[in-house]
Amino acid sequence: MFLHNLKYEIKLVLRAKSFIIWLMLFPIILGTLFKVAFGSIYQNETFDTIPVAVVKISENEVFDEMLTALTTGEQPALKAISEEEAKAKEMLFDGDVKGILYVGKTVELSVSGRGMTQTILQEIVGRCRVYETVIRDTMATDPSSLEAVIKELSTEVDACREVPVTQGNPDVYVQYFYNLIAMVAICGCNTGLHVSIDNQANQSVVGARKNCSGTPKSINLTAGLIGSCISQGVSMIFCVTFLRFVLQVNFGGNLLLLYLCSVMAGCLGVAMGFFIGSVGRARFEVKVAIAMSISMVLCFMSGLMMGNIKGILAETAPWANRINPVAIISDSFYCLNIYSDYRRFLTKVLGMGIYIVIFTILGVLFARRKKYASI
């Protein structure tokens, strides 16, 4: 009887239009949109030459030398365009340049906004002042050392040695794809919700028939849950395959573990839906609203809409990241990517396992021994 029920449960889920839409089309459409939106952002954010307009008021040899150094080389820091003030302002407002350098005895900076690019321009202009200060100090204390000091200042120094942080993919935008997989997984709560609803006589016709039949509820529920987990697992494998091999998203880490982890995440979604569906006697529509709203809030708190929300929560309410099932799912993908050892990854997988067990046990406790005097 169990295998019979399991077979029909899988058939039922696979034939449902909503299953195809939610779990197959959803990652395809949203994943493609994400890829289009984020594909070039990480490259855009890397270091790039900053265009500036230079308005000359009087000669400043120190700054001229410095500007030459900053605008030449393989990857120059600045691209200087000499202009009249009016034209320079126009270019600034049009976004063609990031700032205007007014070069006189001192150098002043004018910018149109507030951001890191403007801060860097401020630093660069500040460096010109440093040169002036060092030369002035030298002239005041030991003019004979001027040549040695200038030589020292113009010698290229490589004092800062960069130590790599990870062997994985550091692209912060990959986390949106982690969260997309986590969202697809947690949307499995729709499937789990149906398992619960289809076993409650007051919620659905199928539920009424099942309750009248001789099959024990435990077999119905177990078959329903396992069938949903299998179909959800298939959709998770499809989702990861599409993102990894069609959209070429570099998840980093061990791909086999990524697949296993996403299948487990799908089971977590099913268990959560089963739990929500089993609690209370609210109408199906209300339960769907609760499941979807909770899922979206959890997805938001995991960083689906705002990438840095998880970092903010880590500082303000670290417990939120630890208990949020969607955050646990996306964290497990992150740990696989960033860390070379599996210590943290296993902690996250264990967290998922605990949630699956808790949701299933609570769902069963709420679903069992329900009596219907009148339907």
Partner: protein, 392 residues
């Protein structure tokens, strides 16, 4: 008014699930505003750093002092994993380690790799910090040429590097006050909130109104299709305006802002987008989708449009191709107007009117599409009525 009344009655019957969406998405909106509010001000362009001084000598402490000046130094990380996590999630920009033997190397004139740094993402800020550290060591070495000890040279370098530059903001009139800025951040996320809430609450009611039984009874009545559609539009508009008013007023109260000046444009902008969300919901409902399909379309439309149009990720970061495609979506023009009001791009009355006009154009297009689909799906199949209302 029967359709109008019936529609409101159906809406009321679905109020239980609607209120769940409204409350939860309102919480999401507030959380988004709070999370995003600190990132646009000048002070936040300081780098967030961790400094590990393994040398612990007067020279290394001077370097720590220099790096700390003008940056935010954090010392509350308990382990390396927390540091790595914070760097990945952009809460920490840079980690500087001053290795043991730093002072000795400085004294011997050795500069190559005497400081270690870690960062996750390449950026202007990271490149700048690397240059600044090189600059510091270079300046210390220059002062060493004057016969100063490493500590004296470090002190002199710190003093020289303290040089401040006056920066003028060439577009000050476009900048808004902090409270208004907060409200604009709140408004920036409204497209997502409106699309989710309106589609999830309005569509089920509209689908219920389009159900076969109800539709056949309406078709048999003396009501003309035009009257039916207009009453449905009017009831939807009433609901949307109420929803928009609630989100706007409660948002203003929570953010502690009184609407004035250009902020009213943001309010109008919100209304136009709310109307777009409503007509989009009307359009989708014409196909009578089941609840699962409605939720899927809502998520795809809201998340997809918001990511492409710069609601979640700043338009300035999106590529040219993405923005070119986004121009064909109303959320792009909504966000563009918000950016103008926030002073991120130049504000002109003409451009602001264009943003509102294009959104209104989208509303008009979807109204026409809805009428077209309604006629094609339902009216053409129904018996024709004479002007007097009897079936021909």
């Amino acid at each position: 008014m029967q359709v109008f009344n019936a529609f409101l009655r159906v809406l009321r019957s679905k109020f239980g699930s609607a209120i769940i969406y409204i409350v939860l998405f309102f919480i999401v909106g507030i959380m988004m505003t709070r999370a995003d509010s600190g990132t646009s001000v000048w002070e936040k362009t300081k780098m967030v750093m961790v400094i590990e001084d393994l040398d612990d000598t007067p020279e290394s402490r001077k370097l720590v002092e220099f790096i700390s000046e003008g940056n935010v130094v954090k010392d509350d990380f308990t382990n390396e994993d927390d540091i790595t996590d914070a760097m990945y999630y952009t809460m920490l920009d840079y980690v500087v380690t001053i290795p043991k033997g730093y002072a000795e190397k400085l004294a011997s004139g050795q500069t190559e790799g005497i400081i270690e740094s870690r960062h996750m993402h390449e950026s202007y800020a990271v490149a700048n910090m690397g240059m600044l550290l090189d600059e510091y060591v270079s300046t210390v070495m220059a002062y060493r040429q004057l016969g100063k000890t490493p500590l004296e040279a470090s002190e002199a370098a710190c003093k020289a590097l303290e040089a401040k530059v006056d920066v003028t903001i060439a577009q000050e009139e476009g900048k808004t006050e902090d409270a208004a800025s907060m409200m604009l951040i709140y408004f920036r996320y409204m497209p997502y909130i409106f699309l989710c809430v309106i589609m999830n609450t309005l569509c089920p009611a509209l689908v219920a109104m389009n159900k076969k039984d109800l539709r056949f009874r309406t078709d048999c009545s003396g009501l003309t299709p035009q009257s039916y559609t207009m009453q449905q539009f009017a009831a939807s508009a009433l609901y949307i305006v109420a929803l928009w008013a609630v989100f706007t007023v409660v948002g203003a109260v929570i953010n502690g802002v009184m609407f004035s000046g250009r902020l009213w444009l943001a309010v109008v902008n919100g209304l136009v987008f709310a109307l777009f969300s409503a007509v989009f919901a009307l359009f989708v409902s014409e196909f009578s989708p089941n609840p699962n399909v409605i939720t899927a379309i809502t998520q795809i439309a809201s998340l997809g449009m918001c990511f492409l149009c710069g609601v979640f990720v700043d338009q300035a970061l999106l590529g040219g191709g993405v923005l070119a495609a986004a121009r064909f979506l109303p959320a792009y023009w909504y966000v563009r107007l918000i950016r103008m009001l926030n002073g991120d791009i130049v504000f002109t009355a003409g451009e602001a009117a264009l943003c509102l006009g294009i959104q209104a154009g989208f509303v008009a297009v979807f109204v026409l599409l809805t009428i077209l689909v309604h006629r094609a799906r339902y009216v053409s199949a129904a018996p024709r009525k004479t002007a007097a209302g009897s079936a021909a």
